[in-house]
């Protein structure tokens, strides 16, 4: 790109840039006029842009600009976003992990609220839950189970490592909702306690249906 671009070349450059379709030398002449050697200028332009991030290329007699092929990867970036599971998804995952293989109807019976289809989709997309065959009962419901990736993510050697009901009770995690509500209302744990959010039973009472992830 050393040469001083002359007006016709600038016009060709701009026209190709602004056009939404590739253009032949004849198409270009309709815009920039007849007074010059359009093919030669196209060749010069192509040489100017060789090695840059943008290239001028010819395909079947039509010219267009495109980004350099070796840079395609930066135009399509994947970005990882850390997202928290919704409460519905978390509870559903917990039920599957404790009761697997378990059907959707069974999950709903345990949760006490319906399980949206999106909730299971999120868990499967996360790679933590898989379909685990059909149960041989009327309706042949699909059952769900956890995956090895689930164990890996939660740092478990096996499902037996999950704390049992007695452990949960001892940890206060089975406290009836009303009691938990009272202590939450007492205020001491509301703001400062980082777990208060997940803990807050008011939310689980109010939120009847699951918000899908």
């Amino acid at each position: 790109m050393n040469a001083e671009p002359d007006d016709l070349m600038r016009a060709i450059e701009a026209t190709l840039f602004a056009s939404d379709v590739p253009m032949s030398a004849a198409d270009l002449r309709l815009h920039v006029g007849d007074g010059g050697d359009v093919p030669a200028l196209l060749a010069r332009l192509a040489a100017d842009y060789a090695g840059r991030g943008i290239n001028l290329v010819e395909r079947g007699g039509r010219w267009h600009f495109q980004t350099a092929a070796d840079l395609a990867h930066i135009l399509r970036r994947e970005k990882e976003e850390s997202r928290r599971l919704s409460r519905a998804a978390m509870e559903t995952l917990a039920i599957i992990s404790y009761h697997e293989p378990v059907s959707r109807a069974e999950i709903e019976a345990i949760r006490g609220v319906q399980v949206g289809k999106g909730t299971l989709d999120v868990l499967m997309e996360a790679g933590w839950v898989r379909p685990a065959g059909r149960r041989e009962v009327p309706g042949r419901p699909l059952t769900y189970a956890t995956t090895p990736a689930f164990l890996t993510h939660f740092g478990l050697a096996s499902r037996r490592d999950l704390p049992g009901i007695d452990d949960l009770r001892a940890a206060g995690l089975l406290d009836p909702v009303d009691l938990a509500l009272e202590s939450a209302m007492a205020g001491s744990r509301s703001d400062a306690d980082p777990e208060a959010d997940g803990d807050n039973p008011v939310q689980s009472v109010v939120e009847m249906d699951d918000e899908d992830a």
Binding site: H64, T67, R77, K79, M90, P176
Partner: protein, 259 residues
Amino acid sequence: MEDLFLAAERPADPDRLTVSFDAWEGPLDLLLALARTQKVDLREISILALVEQYLDFIDGARQLKLELAADYLVMAAWLAYLKSGLLLPRDEQIDPSPEELALRLQLRLQRLQAMREAGARLMARDRLGRDVFPRGAPEGLRIGRKAAWDASLYDLIQAYGQVRARTQPAVHVVSRRAVMTLDEAIQRVEALVGSRVEWTLLARFLPEGIDAALGRSALASSFVAALELARQGKVDIRQDGIFAPLYLRAANGRAEAQT
């Protein structure tokens, strides 16, 4: 616009006039158009001359029985007032002075003119999509968002604990709170008022030495009791102002009847 104005100055030839006030966006716009005909800098404009131009214009329009929007007439009235203020000898001081009003009008015209010019200059710039062009067919960029779900083992077992806790039968216990019932309070207040003729604070009718919770209940009940007794004509209630203390005494009639 200038043509329209010139036409309007010749009301003698009404057939030629097809003036529509839609051509102006309000009286200020019309004034600015008239001011331009003075062909001087707006800072040197003769407000008096402008006022006359406007009034003539409105007058001409009226003779043509053009329907004038109210705001044009309001402006005309205001300008007529301004004109008389500017012309009359000023023995009496009126506030604001006609000069100040004239200056204010001039400043407003300058500002409108400035913005009108600014708008025109803005529109005349090299505008994207009209004078300069973005790339015709950009490939587009894509950032694929891949969710990395975040959850800890604690979240998991806690969620399970909550599910179980929620589905366990809950036992509700209503704790008993100390209250004074309304019946109790009516009996109590009625008995204590008796035939008392002097005004007595409502608070005096509460039991002594009760705790705060019961005290609040007793106060609320006693207040309602007092209202009920007043309704029955058994007590009088007095309050000297909003949120002021309440006083009770035996109702006048009853007290008198007993004395």
